[in-house]
């Protein structure tokens, strides 16, 4: 130890574990939080709260289990808690019928679209679908892990993923059409 003052060894041990198991996921959590909340400032607040809650209850975390999934579970719990304060997000029930009617068949993504346009399309999907697409397709969690993180049945994860992907494709196609790429209902 380089510091001249003594340290408590038990406190350091938990700190060391937190450093090595939780802190490396900061980037992933922030990126997901940005998409889930739709605003960087809110994402910063939420991620800060996630790490605070995780640190406070880190003794409950079992070494060797999936710390990343545990942190994501806390993240969505925090987002859910804060949602009421921020704004009223569209819920699945309100949009389900509309989305069901607007799903499109698989199409390829236009190459001309920028990262910002792709993210804007993702942000435009109702939260319930977007969260599942984010967790499965961006964060690469297994369906079972997503079910545990969001606290929903695995069948619901699959159906929301299918609908979310479909809606994302449609939005990407709409953006492409605005540039004159592809015909109506199709993309390049």
């Amino acid at each position: 130890m380089d510091s001249g003052a003594p340290h408590s060894i038990p406190a350091m041990s938990l700190e060391a574990r937190f450093e090595s198991e939780a802190m490396p996921h900061l980037n992933d959590l922030f990126r997901t939080a940005t998409r889930v909340t739709g605003e960087r400032g809110q994402a910063e607040d939420v991620v800060q709260e996630v790490f605070l809650q995780a640190w406070r209850s880190f003794d409950k975390f079992e070494p060797g289990t999936n710390c990343r999934a545990w942190l994501y579970k806390i993240l969505f719990h925090c987002v859910s808690h804060h949602r009421r304060k921020w704004f009223r997000m569209p819920t699945l029930k309100e949009n389900e019928e509309h989305l069901e009617a607007n799903l499109v068949q698989p199409e390829s993504v236009p190459q001309h679209l920028t990262d910002q346009e792709i993210l804007a399309a993702l942000d435009g999907i109702p939260a319930d679908f977007r969260n599942v697409v984010l967790l499965v397709d961006v964060d690469e969690f297994a369906y079972k892990e997503v079910a545990e993180i969001l606290g929903i049945p695995i069948g619901t994860v699959m159906s929301r993923l299918s609908r979310g992907r479909g809606l994302l494709r449609k939005r990407l196609a709409d953006v492409a059409h605005s540039y004159g790429i592809g015909k109506t209902g199709q993309v390049d």
Partner: protein, 259 residues
């Protein structure tokens, strides 16, 4: 992950295959979002201030049964863990301070190492021990306390070593604000003036030098044998004001000590 092959559902497999290209673009786009530069340090600061629930009684009986073996393993693991964390902290402090002048890094790195990170562990010195920890500098404490706004609580005042140098370190906190006054003996050739920095202000004839990086603001000044730094996460103006208040008293104390 292999979500696609976990289910014998042709619909989902075909859909996943068709979505592969979008997925790749989506991952690339989502990962292009950059982490705010100061978020990690803010999180560490909030963790440092947070109490943590602990469970001490867990598995007490089994620990008692195998105490000799467990203690041996435990101590080995701890030593490795402490080294790893110390390394990470030093790396963070070094990385952050790269953007300020070399002489400014001395104080900034000590502040990050000792004030920002230290509270994650058990406080190293209770206030009752401050006299002992401050040997030779305890008479400076009242003057320092007087110049720092009353809303700031004195967290600790002690001597500690970082990267081979001994610092006298006063730490204050006011809610989310963390403030350090640090004094360290100069090494040969070390001087704000010699390094070519321009003073940001002159207080009672004493040139004062300022810099900022991420959320950290720092103001330094020097006597014949010592460097002194005031570092905090407050706005530059507030940090400089406090430093300006401290500088004459600290200079007077150090000059008397230097003889």
């Amino acid at each position: 992950m292999t979500n696609e092959i976990k289910f014998d559902d042709l619909k989902y497999r075909r859909e996943a295959e068709a979505f592969r290209e979008i997925r790749t673009r989506l991952q690339s786009a989502a990962r292009s979002v950059e982490l705010p530069r100061d978020l990690e340090s803010r999180i560490r600061l909030s963790l440092a201030e947070a109490p943590r629930k602990t469970v001490w009684n867990r598995n007490l009986m089994s620990i008692a049964a195998g105490i000799a073996i467990v203690m041996g393993t435990w101590l080995s693991w701890q030593v490795a863990g402490v080294r790893a964390v110390t390394g990470q902290r030093q790396n963070f402090a070094i990385a952050v301070s790269q953007k300020v002048a070399t002489i400014m890094r001395v104080g900034l790195q000590q502040h990050i190492h000792c004030a920002v990170f230290r509270p994650l562990g058990k406080p190293a010195d209770a206030r009752a021990d401050m006299d002992q920890w401050l040997a030779g500098y305890k008479d400076l404490l009242p003057a320092v306390r007087e110049q720092v706004p009353a809303s700031f609580e004195l967290l600790t005042a002690h001597k500690c070593k970082f990267r081979g140098r001994e610092f006298v370190h006063f730490q204050f906190q006011d809610k989310g604000k963390l403030l350090s006054l640090m004094i360290v003996r100069k090494r040969e050739g070390e001087s704000f003036e010699i390094e070519g920095l321009l003073p940001s202000m002159v207080q009672s004839g004493l040139p004062m030098y300022s810099a900022g990086v991420q959320k950290f603001e720092m103001t330094g000044f020097e006597t014949r044998d010592h460097l002194a730094y005031v570092v905090s996460n407050m706005p530059a103006k507030e940090n400089t004001q406090i430093a300006a208040g401290l500088a004459p008293k600290v200079k007077q104390f150090l000059t008397h000590m230097e003889g």
